[in-house]
Structure formats: structure tokens, C-alpha cells
Symmetry: C2
Subunit: 206 residues, 2 copies
DNA sequence: CTTATTTTTAATCATTTGCTTAATGTTTGA
DNA sequence: TCAAACATTAAGCAAATGATTAAAAATAAG
């Protein structure tokens, strides 16, 4: 019982994902993609009408795969400390499976594709983590943590989790890391990052 | 007394910097660059021999401008707390003047240009922050902070300072920020980030 | 001034790139 | 079974792109 052979359309989309993520929109050609998908250029346009169209399809899936889970976990109904550990743990594991997605998304969200941002905002793909904000306010009211700007805390969390993947190449080189070393490094951050966030939230309490 | 008219070569390099940073290597064409520099394509190749060559020149300058100061400040001879505040303050101001540099550098350091990493490593453009590591060890020995992995602390610092610029577009959209709002946001981080780092370093002390 | 060198221009070449077309093969459903 | 819809292929087009050339213009040197 062999796995279902993927449809041509799916093979093209997967090839496109690989190449767009690896080289960026401008440097990946339709012929690259066709070859990588083991078909020809005509089929790429037959299924997706244009390179731009294909890119949109790939980008939106990638975006949903990366940034939607992030807001999701933050709005979960969990105790603050548990939530933060869960967030770091799950996002880290997600990114270990697709380490280039963040840099792909952020880098394509410039220049001619910058307007996509707005489009996706309106599509509701990016709801603010309102539950998280309220939770921080409640915990502060109870005196469990100090009063904070939720946007700053959220940015800190995202920064600490995403950055090692965004700067993976530089990081690996700077510290002469093998793939395995890097994997260990981000695993260690499953402790470091929550401790950092919680230390900030709890610092300066009377 | 008007400022020296920039040479054609410099006008081309500046135009290239603007367009490479804005659109990436693959999406910026030599004709774009020539037009933006108010010359013609032949001159681009006359001064730089090839698009790839021009890119290398621009990239290396941008890299030096961004990542060398970072390691520099960390190795300065300053008390830990002062150093951290200075680091965040200076790098933030630097990035406010060139907010797209980080995403440019990280995004171009993939695909066909990934080998540049190694080349720049060997050129010594990326010395590890050894002074910072020793300082952290000494402070830990004195009991002023807890024992830490310097690489993790350094990564945290870089992450917290760089990330808002890397994710500028998403951030501005998610929180409906104007340019001014964003500027305020990163200025507030001049307090938030050092407090976060220091809270971590001082947490769990007996 | 004259010659040599450097800089600039316009025209052009060879490829590449996104996309289309027309013909052929394959599947599906009535 | 047969036609209608779908899938695939090879060939090619027009525009864009990186690079070059040869000649003209500007600048520097003797």
C-alpha cells in the first residue's frame, strides 16, 4: 500500500514552495519550478494561471502555517506560565520542521508584495492576541506580575522564538554549529526563553 | 557651499543599495538600478563588471554597517548593565536610520548567496563576542548574575533588538501602527529590552 | 595644443523568462 | 461507445534582462 501519488497540481505547488522559500520570488523561475516538479512550464500556467498566482497560493499557506498557530496558542485558555512554556515548545518544534518559513514570509513582505500585508489583515489572518492582553492585565491586577505593555511582551516572545531561525545561517557560522548543534541550541531555548519572559514579568514586584 | 556631487560610481552603488534592499537581488534589475542612478546600464557594468559584483559590494558594506557594530559594543570595556543599555540604545538608533538592512542581510544569505556567509566568516567580519562571554562568566563568579550560556544571552539581545525591524511590516499592520507609532514602539524597547535581559540574568539568585 | 586616458552614450546581442498556442493523449460520464 | 472535459506535450512568441561593443565626449597629461 504505497502512499497516494500526489497530483500534478500538488507536485507543482510543493516544488514552488521549496524554491520560493529557498531563493525568493524574484530568483525562482517558472522553469525551475516545473523542472523541480518533474513537469513542464505549460502545466504550471495551466494550473495556476501565472507565477504571481502560484506565489500567492504558496505564500498564504505558508503564512497560515506559521503565524496563525502563534496567535492561536497565545489566546488559549491556560495559566500564564503554562501557556508561555507551551508556546515556546510548540512553535520551536514547528519551526524545526520548516526553519526557512519565517525568513521567507518576512522577506517577501517587502517591495512589490508589501500590499499583501494589508490584504491578509483584512482576510482576518492576523487577529491581535487579545486574550493574551487581557490575561496579562488580570495577572497584573492580582499582583502576580508587574503591569506591562502586552504588545511588547508579545513582541519579545516572538522575537526570542523566531530569531534563531531567522538568523540561522549567521548563527551557525558565527558559533561554528553543525545542524545538530543548532538543534540542541534551539532546544535549550525551550528553557531559556520562558525563563527570560517570566523573569521580566516578575521583576520589580514589591 | 553645496555638497560634493557624488561620482557616478557612487550614485550607482547607492541606487543599487536602495533597490537590492527594497526588492532583493532577484527582483532588482540592472536597468532599475541604472535608471534610479540616472545613468544607463552600460555604466553599471563599466564600473562593477556584473550585477553579482555590484551586489557583493553593496552587501558587504551593508553587513559591516549592521553586524560589525553589534559585536563591537558587546566587547567594549564597560560595566555589564551600562553596556546592555548602551547596546540596545545604539543599535536601535542605527536601525531606525536603516530599518530594512537586517531583513535584507538575512534574506539574501540564503540560496545561491548562502556561501557568502563562509566567505565573510573567513574575512573576519564576524568575530565572536568573546569579551562579552568572559564578562558574563566573571559576573557570575562574583555572584552578581546567575551562570548563563553567553551564546543564548547574546542571541536574546540580538533577537529583542532586531526583531521589531525584521517584522516591521507585520507588526505595524497587526497593531495598526503609523510610522510614528512604530518609532515610539521601538523607543520604548530601549527600556523593555535591557530590563528583560537583566531580569533574566538576575533571576534565581540565592 | 595634442595625445592618451577615462567616462559616457546608444545600439545591439544572446539568453532567459513568463506565458500562450495548437496539437495530442487521457479520463469520465451519459 | 462516444463525445465532452481534462491533462499533457512540444514549440514558440514577445518582452525583459545581463552583458558587450564601438564610437563619441570629456578629462588629464605632456
Amino acid at each position: 500500500m504505497t502512499r497516494n501519488a500526489p497530483s500534478t497540481e500538488d507536485k507543482i505547488k510543493e516544488a514552488a514552495r521549496k524554491l520560493f522559500v529557498e531563493k525568493g520570488f524574484g530568483s525562482a523561475t517558472t522553469r525551475d519550478i516545473a523542472e523541480c516538479a518533474e513537469t513542464n512550464v505549460a502545466l504550471v500556467n495551466y494550473y495556476f494561471r501565472s507565477k504571481e498566482n502560484l506565489f500567492q497560493a504558496v505564500f498564504q499557506e505558508s503564512f497560515a502555517q506559521t503565524f496563525v498557530p502563534i496567535a492561536g496558542i497565545l489566546n488559549d485558555d491556560l495559566p500564564l506560565e503554562v501557556k508561555i512554556y507551551k508556546f515556546v515548545d510548540q512553535i520551536t518544534d514547528l519551526l524545526k520542521r520548516a526553519p526557512m518559513l519565517p525568513i521567507f514570509i518576512l522577506s517577501e513582505m517587502r517591495g512589490e508584495h508589501a500590499p499583501m500585508c494589508q490584504a491578509m489583515q483584512q482576510a482576518g489572518a492576523m487577529q491581535p492576541a487579545d486574550g493574551f492582553r487581557k490575561q496579562l492585565e488580570e495577572e497584573a491586577a492580582k499582583g502576580h506580575i508587574r503591569p506591562v505593555d502586552a504588545r511588547q511582551v508579545e513582541a519579545n516572545l516572538m522575537a526570542l522564538v523566531l530569531f534563531p531561525f531567522l538568523g540561522m545561517n549567521i548563527l551557525k557560522m558565527k558559533h561554528q554549529m553543525s545542524d545538530e548543534d543548532f538543534s540542541k541550541f534551539v532546544d535549550e531555548r525551550k528553557k531559556v526563553v520562558p525563563e527570560t519572559i517570566l523573569a521580566y514579568l516578575r521583576s520589580g514586584l514589591v
